[in-house]
């Protein structure tokens, strides 16, 4: 029981009772405070927030039952025991109806009073614990909702629906899976879905990002080591393969794994055995592998970044997640899900997206795929005002007119020889993109007058 939970306020105008109660409670480890009037009692209640009030129903400056009502309204957590010389059932029942914990008739027996006090404080403690647990449950529920939103992929478009069917069919198997797709398409999310729908879902999936570790460290992270295996190996470390026993091992950016380690890992996949660094013991490997890469497979094979034999071993099922620009039907549900999640995180009401802003989201190319959309939505929710997201609340690159977006993309791409007209059109579009559609500035960048720019825009059918 916390210290503040032992603070008891006694409100009674009879001095002998007030002082006896104060002494009795003080001697039993409580922190009593005496008030001879209702007005003083209310001040103490406000300033000291006692856990329990012993309240006389007959006070010189207030009606006891009204006082009880006031206490329960303003301090609902505070328990109240009624002290009454008027031990009529009416008063007692009325006081219980108005929220008193119990009542006791004067003259009270000390042991009876102390037992009631202890029970009332216990009740308050339990109520408080219940309230805290309720709050924690709500917080956890919120977090769970956020986590679910974060992890739930969207299978709205036809291509994603087909992909979902494939996942549903192969997830319960033990087959290895290779997930490919551009950066930000959600490869890890899909790996999670495969794991949670697999027979190994009871244990958490183990993740190793091969691009996140120095090459020398990947081997020890993956296979583990025994104490003294190398300088700095102060203790045994079981490694990711051991940790993934009975579960799924997700190897992200597999093409970043050093080729010689790929060979060693391939052997583990074939023989289902491995040996930690510095150990003479061979251990059983019991994991399912799901690997991912954002490099196009032919390119990775040609560059020897991905060993062909490992590729064929991993490629029992290959899942290619298309970029977001090729499945725009997924944008609306993704936007809804991100808005909900970020609004919850920021404690805001879920904002509405203005139609023109929504159109911008649909028009944008999303080179960073779902991850970029997610970032854009977080940005928009942060900036949203009065529950609205307009065009201005979107990132600058999303706000650009479609023509300028295309121009910007072209500027990043290498092309073959072009006609002078094409070159001029591209130069105008690039200048406009660079100046975020500001024609005056674009004309200055191009070194021409504004009317000339207008004429050329008309000639090349450039509309903003």
């Amino acid at each position: 029981m916390s210290a503040d939970n032992r603070r008891i306020l006694i409100i009674d105008d009879e001095r002998p009772i007030l002082l006896t109660l104060e002494a009795l409670l003080g001697r039993h480890g409580y922190q009593p405070e005496a008030a001879a009037t209702a007005a003083y009692g209310l001040r103490v209640l406000k300033n000291r927030a006692p856990a329990l009030v012993l309240l006389d129903l007959q006070l010189p400056d207030a009606d006891g039952l009204q006082m009880l009502e006031q206490i329960k309204t303003e301090h609902p957590e505070t328990q109240v025991i009624i002290l009454t010389a008027h031990d009529s059932l009416n008063n007692a029942i009325e006081s219980i109806k108005r929220g008193a914990y119990h009542f006791i008739s004067k003259p009270y027996a000390p042991e009876e009073l102390l037992s009631l006090v202890e029970k009332a404080l216990e009740k308050r403690s339990l109520l408080r614990e219940t309230e805290e647990l309720r709050e924690k449950t709500q917080q956890l529920q919120k977090r769970l909702e956020i986590a679910e939103t974060r992890l739930a992929p969207v299978f709205k478009s036809k291509v994603m629906q087909e992909l979902q069917e494939l996942i549903n069919a192969m997830a319960p198997s033990e087959a290895n899976v290779l997930i490919t797709g551009e950066s930000g398409v959600g490869k890890e999310v899909i790996a999670n879905v495969i794991h949670t729908r697999s027979l190994r879902a009871s244990k958490p999936m183990v993740k190793l990002n091969c691009a996140a570790f120095p090459q020398a460290m990947i081997e020890s992270e993956l296979f583990g080591y025994v104490k003294g295996a190398f300088t700095g190996a102060m203790n045994d470390f079981p490694g990711m393969i051991a940790e993934a026993s009975g579960s799924t091992l997700f190897l992200d950016e597999i093409s970043e794994m050093p080729p010689e380690l790929q060979t060693r890992f391939l052997r583990v996949l074939q023989e289902r055995e491995y040996r930690p660094l510095g150990s003479t013991k061979t251990l059983k490997a019991d994991f399912r592998v799901v690997a991912a890469t954002n490099r196009p497979i032919p390119e990775a094979l040609a560059d020897n970044r991905l060993r062909a034999d490992l590729y064929y071993r991993l490629n029992t099922f290959q899942i290619e997640i298309p970029p977001l620009r090729e499945r725009k039907e997924d944008i609306p549900p993704l936007v809804t899900s991100f808005l909900k999640r970020f609004a919850q995180q920021l404690g805001k009401a879920e904002p509405q997206i203005a139609p023109e802003a929504f159109q911008k989201l649909l028009d944008y190319h999303w080179p960073g795929n779902v991850r970029e959309l997610q970032n854009a939505m977080e940005y928009a929710v942060v900036l949203s005002r009065q529950g609205q997201i307009g065009v201005k609340e979107l990132p600058a690159e999303v706000q650009l007119p479609v023509a300028l977006q295309q121009a910007e993309r072209k500027s990043h791409q290498n092309g073959g020889p072009k006609s002078l007209d094409d070159l001029e059109r591209d130069a105008i579009l690039q200048a406009l993109a660079q100046c975020h559609g500001n024609k005056k500035k674009a004309a200055q960048v191009l070194g021409i007058q504004r009317p000339t720019l207008y004429n050329k825009m008309k000639r090349y059918a450039i509309e903003l």
């Binding site: 001095r15 002082l19 002494a23």
Partner: protein, 217 residues
Amino acid sequence: MPVVVRFIRQLSHDLRNHLNAAELQSAFLKEIAADGEVKSEVQRLRVMLSELGTALQKLTAALAPPKLTQMPYGAPVFLEDLQQKVQNDFGADAGVFEWDVRVTGGMLNIDPQLLQQALLELLSNALRHERGEGSITITADAAGGRLLLRLREPKQAFTGSTEEWGREPFKHVKHGHYGIGLHRARGVIEAHGGELSASHDAAAGALVTTVALPIFD
């Protein structure tokens, strides 16, 4: 006698439990009764049960050995509180009492609530029992390390003995009276290291009850 007291306390406790159950049942009946008259009758029943319970509670409390929560308490303050309580509790009858308090200092080591109840019992007895014409006077003095409270009630003829005053419970039992109040008062006073005595002053035609309590500077 202790065996009888224990028996009565246990019986009283058990009866109170039954009464509590009956009170709860009547409360439930009142809640479910649709007819106004039935409601009102059940309410009356509840009040009766409540009074029974209260009477038994008082009986149990009176027969229990006093457990004191003692504290230093100013003697004048205690007497002032007592007068105030008499004013509040006795209503119009409070005017029958004449106070002569000559105590201006000194401390008592008392359970103020229990001691006040014990003295109120003595005052209530004086008021209730047959008494002659005139006021009941209460004199308070401090002398020889004792606070002396003298209660003088007009009583021309007194045939009883005052030797064992309040030592035996159940001495005078009649309707609504069980002869335990005085016994309880003596128990409380003695638990404070005090004394209770009574004598009949035939010349003055008064029964004088004296309470002596230790007083400190």
